[in-house]
């Protein structure tokens, strides 16, 4: 076998094993989704394990009721979407029980009752809702805080700005872009205790219930067990122990981090394994996507210059569709929309969905410049080859492609770098790659600047290495 054949076989084998894994993993075991950054209900502790009130309650109930489950930590928004699309069996993510949500989900008995508070920057002069007039308020999408703030928006005359992530919301208030944020009381007070430079300036409003959710009419068995288990752990005192543990202790005692380790180097060594696994995921995604996108791009490029009308038409249509679609929309469509469309509980693992997303998007871009590269080869080359009696495909392979590919090399290098960077967008479907790793670490230690600097440097280092490698290949080819 030639080298490229080996590579293709390896990619196919890897794909196959993923699909196999995806289909065996769903037998009997429930998949329960949770948020990634909602301390003290859920957050990632050092070493990548998730902790928090939700996680511990779920765990205790599962033990009592013999529920087998796999925890899937993704953003709150994605968790809710996936539950309604049947991609996961349940969600426990500090989710408020609302009449709206009851239309789509069935909820357990309330396992926690919480109110909404307003928080402002430490030195802020905002003391009450009245002071918000004309100012901007930061909210996290889908939270009770957001619903409450929205309901008083016109009364107090403030503007609203939405975030997907608590930390970004806090930061926006901290740096003064927004005057205040609305957040569940336990979440806010936990954050402040752990170093967020905000202060709570209101009492608790709109006390709301947190419930465990399943899709309406589905998994009734799971819901029943959850309720029974909840009763049991409340009765035997486990429940109180869990809640007390998180609400009355600081983050460092939970995650094992100490204040002295908050230097750049300290943070780096402490989070090395988490960052390492995120980096590995990024590299894996990048390499596989580059291979697949290159294959797809070559096929599109060849179709694009084929004689006749059909090939070029197919090629331009595919390029048009997938180049025109924002990567994030495509990712959501493939991960959430597409399985929904197929129905029958069809699921695509996030990694596969991410890979397909990148393949289609980067493949379309690649197809466009591959086609251009082939077209840039002088027409006389094809004529000379054909006049010697070479069939079309032989002429293509031996004469046009080698020349075209040489023209394309700079575009390929560029595309590889773009692919690497685009993997970060896949964090929206819950893939814990390098960028998402950063979000997760910051969610528990609030060291935004240092961690993002770290992540940025890592990206630059890989891109530099990738560029060197590509230049070396280019030099060898010329």
């Amino acid at each position: 076998m030639k080298k490229w054949q080996v590579a293709v076989v390896m990619v196919l084998a890897t794909l196959g094993s993923w699909f196999a894994f995806a289909s065996t993993a769903q037998a009997k075991t429930y998949t329960i989704a949770t948020d990634t950054t909602f301390a003290p209900f859920e957050f990632q502790a050092k070493g990548g394990k998730y902790k928090g009130i939700d996680i511990d309650i779920l765990n205790a109930i599962a033990k009592k009721e013999n529920i087998k489950y796999k925890l899937k930590a993704i953003s709150f928004g994605a968790a809710v979407q996936q539950l309604s699309a049947n991609q996961v069996d349940g969600v426990i993510a500090g989710m408020n029980v609302t009449p709206e949500r009851k239309q789509t989900f069935d909820f357990s008995d309330a396992y926690y009752t919480s109110g909404v508070v307003m928080a402002v920057a430490k030195g802020s002069s905002v003391k009450s809702f009245k002071d918000l007039k004309g100012k901007t308020v930061a909210l996290k999408t889908g939270t009770a805080g957001a619903t409450y703030a929205k309901s008083i928006e016109s009364k107090y005359g403030f503007k609203i700005k939405y975030f997907n992530d608590s930390n970004n919301m806090y930061n926006d208030v901290k740096v003064g872009n927004s005057a205040a944020c609305f957040e569940d009381y336990p979440v806010m007070s936990y954050g402040i205790k752990n170093g967020i430079a905000l202060k709570i300036v209101s009492k608790q409003y709109e006390a709301g219930d947190y419930g465990f959710a399943v899709k309406k009419g589905k998994n009734a068995e799971l819901l029943k067990k959850f309720n029974a288990g909840l009763k049991a752990i409340k009765a035997d005192g486990q429940y109180k122990k869990i809640v007390d543990k998180y609400l009355h202790s600081s983050e460092s005692s939970l995650t094992g981090e100490t204040a002295s380790s908050r230097t750049f180097v300290g943070l780096f060594t402490q989070n090395l394994s988490t960052i390492g696994s995120g980096l590995w995921m990024t590299l894996e995604l990048t390499v596989i996507s580059i291979i697949l996108a290159t294959i797809m791009g070559m096929i599109l490029g060849v179709l694009g210059v084929m004689p006749g009308k059909l090939g070029p038409a197919i090629s331009s249509t595919i390029i048009y569709i997938f180049r025109g679609m924002p990567l994030m929309v495509l990712a959501f469509f493939i991960y959430i929309g597409f399985p929904d469309l197929i129905g029958h509980g069809f699921k695509i693992p996030a990694f596969i969905a991410g890979m397909i997303t990148l393949m289609l998007n980067e493949g379309a871009y690649t197809g466009a410049f591959v086609k251009g590269g082939f077209q840039a080869v002088d027409d006389g080359q094809m004529e000379a080859a054909r006049s010697l009696g070479l069939p079309y495909w032989t002429a293509m392979r031996k004469v046009i492609m080698p020349q075209g590919i040489r023209i394309m090399i700079p575009s390929f290098i560029n595309q590889f770098i773009i692919t690497l960077k685009d993997t970060s967008i896949l964090s929206v479907i819950g893939i814990v790659e390098l960028t998402q790793t950063g979000t997760l670490i910051i969610a528990r230690n609030f060291e935004g600047f240092k961690i993002w600097l770290m992540i940025a440097i890592i990206y630059l280092v890989i891109i530099t290495l990738l560029t060197w490698l590509s230049n070396w290949v280019q030099r060898r080819m010329n």
Partner: protein, 244 residues
């Protein structure tokens, strides 16, 4: 039977009719030189002969193969027709040697070893024995064109088509290329040569064909055509060519 038979050949690009019912027969071992003003359709005609252009109407029979017949394997016909282009069209990513051996090896006409040996012979014939491993871009125009001729000959064609093979060359390179073509003609190759080299046509051609407005206006022995042109179009053309 004649080697090349062209009957009532028409070719249009959209509304533009370039060939308007052309008839020509070329015998075995015959050398036909084709002259005519720019845009008269000479290249189009040559390109029709090996199906690089598909005629709108008419019949072309080459060595007994009818090109308009759907059952004809065009690649097989092309193996019998060598074509040399004005701009050489060598493959720039391959060495001189690889340019020459690509088609014979790919089409399994010859093993790599035999093809290499043949190529060396051909390079000797065109006077470039020492350039086997050179890249085309390192050669002069005249050298490139001689490699292109060798490349076409490597398929052992029965007919050679030349489309203004020397008009992109510096004057001092023209002689070398024409010498190679003379050798070929002397060896009995059937050739159709579109050229502005009147000296070459006079010396080598068995017949000279004058083309204008998509039709053959006049043809005959070189002496007759050049010294006693009948049609005013040809007289006019010759005056212009000779006076520049």
């Amino acid at each position: 039977m004649a080697k090349v038979i062209v009957k009532d050949l028409h070719k249009s690009y959209g509304d533009n009719e370039v060939l308007k019912g052309l008839n020509l027969e070329v015998e075995d071992n015959e050398v036909v030189c084709m002259i005519g003003p720019s845009g008269s359709g000479k290249s189009t005609f040559l390109r029709c002969l090996n199906d690089l252009e598909v005629p709108t109407k008419g019949q072309i029979v080459i060595s007994g193969y009818d090109l308009s017949d759907k059952g004809t394997n065009i690649n097989l016909v092309r193996e019998n027709i060598g074509m040399v282009f004005q701009h050489f069209n060598l493959f720039p990513h391959l060495t001189v040697m690889q340019n020459i051996t690509l088609a014979p090896v790919q089409l399994k006409k010859e093993s790599k070893e035999t093809a290499d040996a043949t190529a060396h012979e051909l390079l000797k014939t065109v006077g470039l024995a020492d350039k086997a491993d050179a890249m085309p871009n390192s050669l002069s125009g005249g050298q490139q064109q001689r490699v292109a001729i060798a490349r076409a000959l490597a398929m052992k064609p029965k007919i050679m088509l030349f489309d203004e093979p020397t008009s992109a060359l510096d004057p001092e390179m023209v002689g070398d290329v024409l010498d190679v073509m003379k050798k070929l003609a002397a060896g009995g190759m059937t050739m159709i040569v579109v050229t502005h080299e009147m000296g070459f046509a006079k010396e080598v051609a068995d017949r000279v064909v004058f083309m204008a407005d998509g039709l053959i206006q006049e043809s005959g022995k070189p002496d007759d055509v050049f010294d006693h042109p009948k049609s005013p179009r040809l007289q006019d053309f010759l005056n212009k060519v000779i006076n520049v």
